[in-house]
């Protein structure tokens, strides 16, 4: 029952996002055929507008769009005339998702390790070193880190290939470029919350009854400290697996990050709507799963008054 209710809420949320986006999209001036209108005969432009239902009144366009959306049809793209939005997303999503998932895994593993090591060495060298690393990691954004990585690993040392896509080797540098900032944030969150947890009485109890420090950290420390990291990872995961404009551009990755930006500048209405609906779907599902995971991490957490 709870799941059904949540599922309906998710659909409503996606519908609200889609409707607001549709409204904003129609409010901003611009026309997908602005550049064609100068060179093509008026009749041709009229026909093109008719093909995308742009000759209809806006409320009719809205209803038509929702009708297609209900059948999971995101419509044809205006920019790439022969392909539908579904085709574009299906073709580009695997590359973006691979990269995003790899980056999240790297950020989580090394961020958690760094944060835990820093907390266990509070106010000692390793703690300060991790703080410096975190500050540098986030002060140098990915769009600066990426060309530096390319320059050293690909151009100067020739260790890794770049500027194409296909093998695991090609994904190493973009993964690193994407992972550094989240890694730094995860490390800082984990350090702070680990410090808090390691101060608690149950840790002293565990220590007093002779549990090994490894066991204390793993089964009492991490589990109680990881919640902020889990909350932080949710929206970030969605943003990363749906592709990043800058990194995909720099590394020439055939992902979907570019559609989120290009479609808006080209006023490619079906692609704007398609990317938004796609993003929102992943968003609401991910945040739902994050909510569910809270219960597994800390069974004391009650999300609703019925105890779910």
């Amino acid at each position: 029952m709870y799941i059904v209710k949540r599922f309906i809420t998710m659909l409503v949320t996606i519908w609200v996002i889609a409707s607001l986006t549709f409204l904003i999209m129609k409010l901003i001036p611009g026309d997908p055929f602005a550049s064609d209108a100068d060179v093509l005969p008026e009749e041709v432009v009229e026909n093109m507008r008719a093909k995308y239902n742009l000759d209809e009144p806006i409320p009719v366009q809205y209803v038509l769009y929702l009708k297609n959306l209900a059948m999971l049809d995101l419509g044809p793209s205006i920019q790439s005339e022969t392909r539908t939005v579904n085709d574009l997303l299906a073709a580009g999503f695997p590359a973006s998702a691979t990269l995003g998932i790899q980056a999240i895994i790297v950020a989580l593993i090394f961020g958690l390790l760094l944060g835990i090591i820093a907390a266990l060495n509070h106010n000692k060298f390793l703690d300060y070193a991790s703080m410096v690393f975190a500050i540098v990691g986030i002060s140098v954004p990915s769009f600066i880190l990426a060309p530096l990585l390319i320059n050293f690993f690909a151009v100067k040392w020739g260790i890794l290939p770049v500027a194409s896509w296909g093998s695991f080797q090609h994904s190493v540098l973009p993964t690193l470029a994407l992972a550094v900032t989240p890694l730094a944030v995860v490390a800082r969150f984990m350090r702070s919350s680990m410090l808090e947890v390691m101060n608690q009485n149950y840790i002293k109890t565990a220590d007093a009854k002779g549990l090994s420090s490894f066991k204390i950290v793993v089964s009492h420390g991490i589990r109680n400290a990881i919640l902020p990291v889990v909350s932080f990872i949710g929206p970030l995961f969605v943003a990363l697996i749906t592709g990043t404009f800058v990194i995909e551009k720099i590394f020439a990755i055939p992902g979907i990050g570019k559609y989120f930006v290009d479609s808006i500048f080209n006023r490619d209405y079906p692609v704007i709507m398609g990317t938004t609906v796609f993003f929102s779907t992943i968003l609401v599902v991910t945040l739902f799963l994050i909510d569910i995971s809270y219960r597994f991490i800390d069974p004391r957490i009650k999300l609703t008054s019925k105890g779910d």
């Binding site: 809420t9 889990v230 609401v284």
Partner: protein
Amino acid sequence: MVKTANDQLFRPLDPAKQQTDVIERPSLGIWKETFLSVIKNKLAVLGLVLLLAIIFLALLGPAMVPYSASQQSLTNTNQPPSAEHWFGTDDLGRDMWSRTWQGARVSLTIGFVAAFVDLILGVIVGGVSGYMAGRGKLGDRVDNVLMRIVEVLYGIPYLLVVILLMVIMEPGITTIIIALSITGWVGMARIIRGQILQLKSQEYVLAAEKLGTSHPKIITRHLLPNTMGIIIINLTFTIPTAIFAEAFLSFLGLGVQAPFASWGTMTNDALGVILSGQWWRLFFPAFMIAMTMFAFNAFGDGIQDALDPRARK
């Protein structure tokens, strides 16, 4: 035997010392206590001084040299740092010192406003949402509505919102700030909600509630101080994130327009030239962002320790 031991252990108190619950120093109140504790923390003071120095230079830095931030000098392009140009010059011969501090005004304003909105909206929405979840039908509904609003704001493409705002209002720094503020606090709200969900099942919250403490007071006095560490860390990351978001908008032609500078656009402009050895083009803006973050971190850690009695010596 037992009796004598007890007699030795428990003797009547010397009547002169019976008044042990006399308060020896005046009660200071939470803010004064925090302030005194922060002042004693050397790293926190260093952070505060650095922050003030950066703000001071942002206000007066450009006036300290005879070059304005947008004044070009084509005979003086790409100069490394020297006595004449302290931070070097860029590809149009503009003085980097002057540009760095003029850019600081834009970037710090954007960063600080983003942090402030994070603090107000993110903490309130996250705090209320997390606290109300699981608190009867009404509570569930409050949490549900707030979290769905968060999802909707995060789901709408913010580039569209930026363009819409630029159509309605004049393009400029205010528009950028509003656009970044609309969605910027969403991450903070989610993180605070998660923290409150976990904390409110602790016994001291139950105790406070049973003693009749009001909901707002439980949130502000018991729950939020215990999430202070996470709040401060998130704030220190909000600032660079906002600075780079502005850089991305400028890159797309929607941000601060030339000849005005910001740390983000300066970092962005350095993209093409760092590989040819002009390190100062990247170093100074990136270094200032790092210093701002360090100052915030150090000062924030001090406040966090000051608010946490367990960390006090």
